[in-house]
Symmetry: C2
Subunit: 392 residues, 2 copies
Amino acid sequence: MLNERAYALGSNRSAIRDLFEYGCARAAVVGRENVFDFSLGNPSIPTPEAVHTAIREVLEQTDPVELHGYTSAVGDLAARQAIADDLRGRYGASVSPGEIFLTCGAAPALVAVFGALTFPGAEILAIAPYFPEYRVFVEGVGARFAEVPPDVPDFQINLEALARCLNEKTAAVIVNSPNNPAGTVYTAETLARLGALLARKSAEYGHPIYIVADEPYRELVYGGAAAPFLPAIYPSTIVCYSYSKSLSLPGERIGYVYVPRAAADGEALYAAVAGAARNAGHVCAPSLWQKVIARCAAVRPNLAAYDRNRRALYGGLTALGYEVAKPDGAFYLFVKAPGGDANAFSEKAKRRDVLVVPGDDFGCPGYVRLCYCVKYETIERSLPLFRALLTD
Amino acid sequence: MLNERAYALGSNRSAIRDLFEYGCARAAVVGRENVFDFSLGNPSIPTPEAVHTAIREVLEQTDPVELHGYTSAVGDLAARQAIADDLRGRYGASVSPGEIFLTCGAAPALVAVFGALTFPGAEILAIAPYFPEYRVFVEGVGARFAEVPPDVPDFQINLEALARCLNEKTAAVIVNSPNNPAGTVYTAETLARLGALLARKSAEYGHPIYIVADEPYRELVYGGAAAPFLPAIYPSTIVCYSYSKSLSLPGERIGYVYVPRAAADGEALYAAVAGAARNAGHVCAPSLWQKVIARCAAVRPNLAAYDRNRRALYGGLTALGYEVAKPDGAFYLFVKAPGGDANAFSEKAKRRDVLVVPGDDFGCPGYVRLCYCVKYETIERSLPLFRALLTD
C-alpha cells in the first residue's frame, strides 16, 4: 500500500549513479588512479576563494539568529538584489529583485516552474539529448513529457521536428544550453528561430508557450562561445539557475528562478512558482548561502582546468577518429559510439575500467556522454584505452 | 493557463505571515519595541557555540571540492551515523544509518513521506490543533486531508473522535508532539492508547496505518516533561525531524526522515521516501550542514530563555484569568479567546499592537496561538495590555 511511482523512482537507480558506484567498487580493487571515470558531472575545481572569504565574513559579521533564521520564502532581498544587478550588468536587461525567487538549487526550481505551468492536460517538451531528470520532474507535477528528436550531428535544435511536436496542450519547451549531455551551446540564430516559432504558435493556440531555460552551465563556455540571454530573445522565458557548477557548490543547494515581469502573465506566474514551490516543501533557500550569494553573485569560475581537459579529450578523441559534437560549453563531450550501440560500447569500456554513460536516458541512443571534470592525467592516460576500444 | 492550485497557494498568504508583515509595518511607525509580536515561530536563541565551532572546523579541515560536493541523495554516511548513534544513545533503539534519509528540513521531509504513503484514494489524518501546512503537503501529493477534532481543554488526543475518522483509506495519522500550536506534549499513556488503536485498525483493514511523527520540537520540553520515542511504542512510525528549532537553524534547511526497518514494509518504504523526495526535486541536503550535523547531532539547546518566557507568560495570563493549555513543550501558548471569537480577539489585540494568531487555520477556532520566542521584556510589558484586552 505504498505509492507505486515513488517506490519505482526510489528503487530504480539511474544509469549514471550505477556506473559511478561501479567505479567506486573497482577503485577499491585496482586503485582509484586506474579507474577512468567519466560518468558523473561533479565539479572538480574548488569553489573560488571569494566564496570562502564571504562565508567567513558572514559568520563573523552577522548576528547568528539573523544569519540562520528563516528568510521570506522568495529569499533575502540582498541576495535577490545582487543577482538582479549581476544579470542587469551582463545582459542590459531590466531585472528587478521582485522577479527572482531563491531555491534549493536547480532541481526544485524546475519542479516549481513545471508545477506553475501545468494546466490540465499540459505537455512539456524537452529537446534531445536532455537531462534525464526532466522526465521525472515533468511527470511528477502531472504534466505529459514529450521529446523533440535530436539535431544530429550538431546538436543544435531541429526546429522542423520541434514544430511537429507543438500542439495546443504545449505549456513549455525546456531549453538547456550549454547542454547536458552534448556540451553544445545553442547559437543566437538557433534561439531566434525558436523564439519566432513559439511566438507564432502561441498566437495560433491563443495561449503562451513558455521557454524554461535550465542554465546551470551558463558560465561554463570556452573559446569565445557565449550562451545568449534567452529572455532578451523570447520574453516568455523563465530561467532556472544553480550555483552548483559555476561556483562549484553542487551539494549546497542554492539557485534561483527568474520570472521576467515581461513574460506572459509574469506577475501571476511568479506567484504560481512560489505556490508550486510551497507545495513541494520549499520554505526558503539555505540562509547562510543566501548571504554568501549576496556577496558573490558576480564571482566567476576559473575555467582553465576544464578548458585544458576539454581540448585534450576532444583533440585526442577526434584524432583517433571518434565523432564528437563540438564542445563549446558545460563539461561534457557527446561521442558517437563506434559500431552504433552505445550500451555495448559502454560495457566494453567498463572492461577496461573506462566509464562512459550511454545516451539512451538522454533521449539519444547511439552516443555516450563523457564528463571531463577529472584530473588531466586521467585524460592523458585514457587515450590509449580509447584507441584500444576501437578494435576491442 | 497557469496551474490554479499553485497560483492560489502562492497568492493566498498565510494568516501568520500576514500578521508578521503587519507587525513589521507597525514597527516602522511606533518602534520595534512597541510591537508585541507573538505571531511567528522563529527561534530567538542563538545556535549553540558548538555549531559555529563545527562550521569553522569543517571549513578548515575539509577539501572544498568534497565539502561542497554532491553527497548521495540519502546523505553523507557520517551524518547519518551520528544521528543514528544519538537516537540509539537516548532511546535505546536499534537505529542504523541506513534508516536515516537527510532532507532540506522538515517540510520536504513531510512531503516525501506523504508522497511515499499515498496509494490511490489515500487519506491522511491530522489531529487538531495542527500546523496548517500539513493540509498543503497532504493535498499536494494527491491524498485527502482529514482532521480529528481537538481534545478540549487538555489538547491530548481525542481517541474516540480519532477512531471515528479511521477507515480503510486511512494511510497515516500525523502526530506532532510537542505540539504546534498547543505547546502540549502527548503523554506516554495517550500514545500507547493511540498505538493500540492503530494496530487494531491496521489488522482490521489488512494494511498498515502509519504514524508520521513530525518532531521539530522534540528537544524543546520543560519542567521535566519528555516526548516519548514513538517508534518504541508503535513500530510503524516514520519520524520527520528538523534542526530548525533545536539548534536554531530554521533558515539552513537541514533535517531528516527516520524510517525504522521494523515498520511495516520498512525497506520498501525507505525506497519510496527517497523516490518521493526525488520527485519533489530533492538532490541532497546542504552538504556543509550535513558535515556540521555529523559533529553536532548530540548538541542540545540551552532552553533557559524560552523556559523563563514560558513561565512568565503562562503565569501572567492565567493570573489574569485567561484559560491556557498547559505548555510543556515547543514555544507556544494556546489561549482560549475571551468571548470565544478568536478572530475578533486577534483584531482587538492588533489595535493595541499585540499580535496573536487565531486558531482557525490550526483547525481549532476559539483559540489564539502565542509564540514566546520574544524578548523577556516584551512579555513583561505585554501583560498590562492583555489585562486591558479583557475589558476592551
